[in-house]
């Protein structure tokens, strides 16, 4: 298993919900899309690349062949998938510290959801219903969501400055360059390996291996 790909952590949670509450949940999700103010907390936390909720009942489980037995379930199920930055504890803690109301709103109707305000029962609820990822891939293992967003700022500003600076005098160029740097003063953090968030032997070893191998390749490339 591997819940980690560089700076991203893959969380999967599956929780039962009574079918008559499922539609309310869907309504809340619909409202969250319509009125994104509900997501201000999530946006401010800025720890998530992408996250999604999926709600399905037994008849909605994909059925591909006659010989495949049909699902028969008492409950409807909610699947949650998140790609976040940091450790499990950090993520779950940040959520509960910062936006407990938002979490409660999204999970409120699920069976035996303990509410997020006290930490330990919520931790237990998530852990209890979590499913480990076997293979996790990130196209930019050294980038947090913040870095992807910062990179876009850099690219836009850099391209613009390059265009605008062609006809400037040296003094104007200097002033423009200063403005460029000032505008990007929160976008220039270095992207290196993330601090280790798990002590699992495989991860420790793998992480070391991947970075060393690529550093070696890099050094070789420079020499060659």
């Amino acid at each position: 298993m591997s819940n980690i790909a560089g700076k991203a952590y893959a969380m999967n949670v599956i929780t039962p919900i009574k079918s008559y509450w499922a539609w309310i949940n869907k309504l809340i999700f619909w409202a969250a899309i319509k009125f994104p103010g509900a997501l201000t907390g999530l946006i401010t936390l800025s720890l998530i690349h992408y996250a999604r909720w999926v709600i399905l009942k037994d008849s909605e489980f994909p059925h591909l062949a006659k010989e495949q037995p049909k699902e028969k379930l008492h409950y409807t199920y909610m699947l949650f998938f998140s790609n976040f930055n940091g450790s499990w504890d950090q993520y779950v803690d940040s959520f509960t510290f910062a936006i407990p109301g938002g979490l409660d709103l999204f999970w409120k109707w699920n069976i035996r959801y303990p509410k997020s305000v006290t930490l330990t029962p919520f931790h237990k609820y998530i852990r209890y219903n979590q499913i480990e990822t076997i293979h996790y891939y990130s196209a930019y293992p050294l980038a947090a969501a913040n870095d992807v967003k910062a990179a876009k700022q850099v690219k836009t500003a850099l391209t613009q400055f390059h265009q605008d600076s062609q006809t400037l005098s040296d003094d104007e160029f200097m002033a423009g360059y200063k403005t460029l740097l000032r505008g990007l003063q929160h976008d220039l953090g270095d992207m290196y390996p993330t601090p280790i968030v798990t002590m699992a032997a495989y991860e420790v070893q793998e992480r070391k291996y991947k970075h060393e191998r690529e550093q070696a390749a890099l050094a070789g490339g420079e020499n060659g």
Binding site: P16, Q68, A151, V154, L181
Partner: protein, 241 residues
């Protein structure tokens, strides 16, 4: 007005696949679902994930859903409190019956499912076909390796059939949250490359006079080619440029 596609947010697409794995096992007494898991685990030991070759993939994951969970942890169901009270009364027998009836029911899945959850750049129209076609073209061998034990996959031997199959296994998102940006992956990777390179440039050229700075900046732009996503960039899935 066209119905909103719940899997699309801006230009990002949330693909959720649940593919039922056949209930069976090999001569070595390894269940098909466990073979799928082993093969996916082996991907972790390769230098790079096969998914690096699939265009426009931001982040994706695979896992096997063995079963659903029965909720036995104490929760915040207010009704159970009243029923707990009932059991303390003389007619506790009824209360107890009701209370046990209130306990979460036990559900079990009939099949185990291969879950593939993927976030990719699909454009405003959510070009799922294009993405899946790209996936088939890049890693059809690995796809067959992983999906080969799923119900109904026997027929899949080309991109069109793969697309059709995946759509049958697809589930719609109830909510898709994009906390990053939704540019095409090559754009994102190029931007990350520029961010890292420009940070280095800013450090190396701090304190120079305008003329020298200008000359170095010109050389820098020529080297990094900001507008060329095919030029120097951060390769997908790699730990260093």
């Amino acid at each position: 007005m066209a119905k909103r596609n719940p899997n699309i947010s801006g230009n990002a697409y949330a693909l959720t696949i649940l593919a039922p794995i056949k209930n069976g096992y090999t001569e070595e007494q390894i269940a098909y679902a466990d073979i799928v898991r082993c093969r996916l685990q082996d991907w972790n030991n390769q230098d790079y994930s096969p998914m690096t070759q699939v265009p426009q993939t931001y982040l994706c994951r695979y896992y096997v859903l063995d079963d659903v969970y029965t909720e036995s942890l104490p929760g915040a169901d207010p009704r159970s409190r009243w029923l707990d009270l009932l059991t303390a009364l003389p007619f506790g027998g009824i209360g107890n019956k009701l209370r046990v009836g209130m306990l979460p029911k036990e559900d079990h899945l009939q099949s185990r499912y291969l879950v593939f959850s993927c976030n990719f750049h699909g454009g405003p129209e959510g070009d799922l076909d294009g993405y899946l076609r790209g996936m088939w073209q890049a890693i059809s061998g690995q796809i067959k390796d992983i999906w080969g034990f799923c119900y109904g996959f026997e027929e899949v031997d080309n991109a069109d059939k793969f697309i059709a199959y995946m759509k049958k296994c697809q589930l719609p998102a109830a909510l898709f949250f994009v906390g990053s940006n939704d540019d095409p992956l090559p754009e994102q990777l190029k931007a990350l490359y520029l961010k890292q390179e420009f940070a280095n440039f800013a450090v190396a050229n701090q304190g120079l006079d305008a003329a020298a700075l200008r000359a170095n900046f010109k050389a820098f732009i020529e080297r990094v080619q900001p507008n060329d996503v095919n030029g120097p960039t951060w390769p997908a899935g790699k730990y260093t440029v």
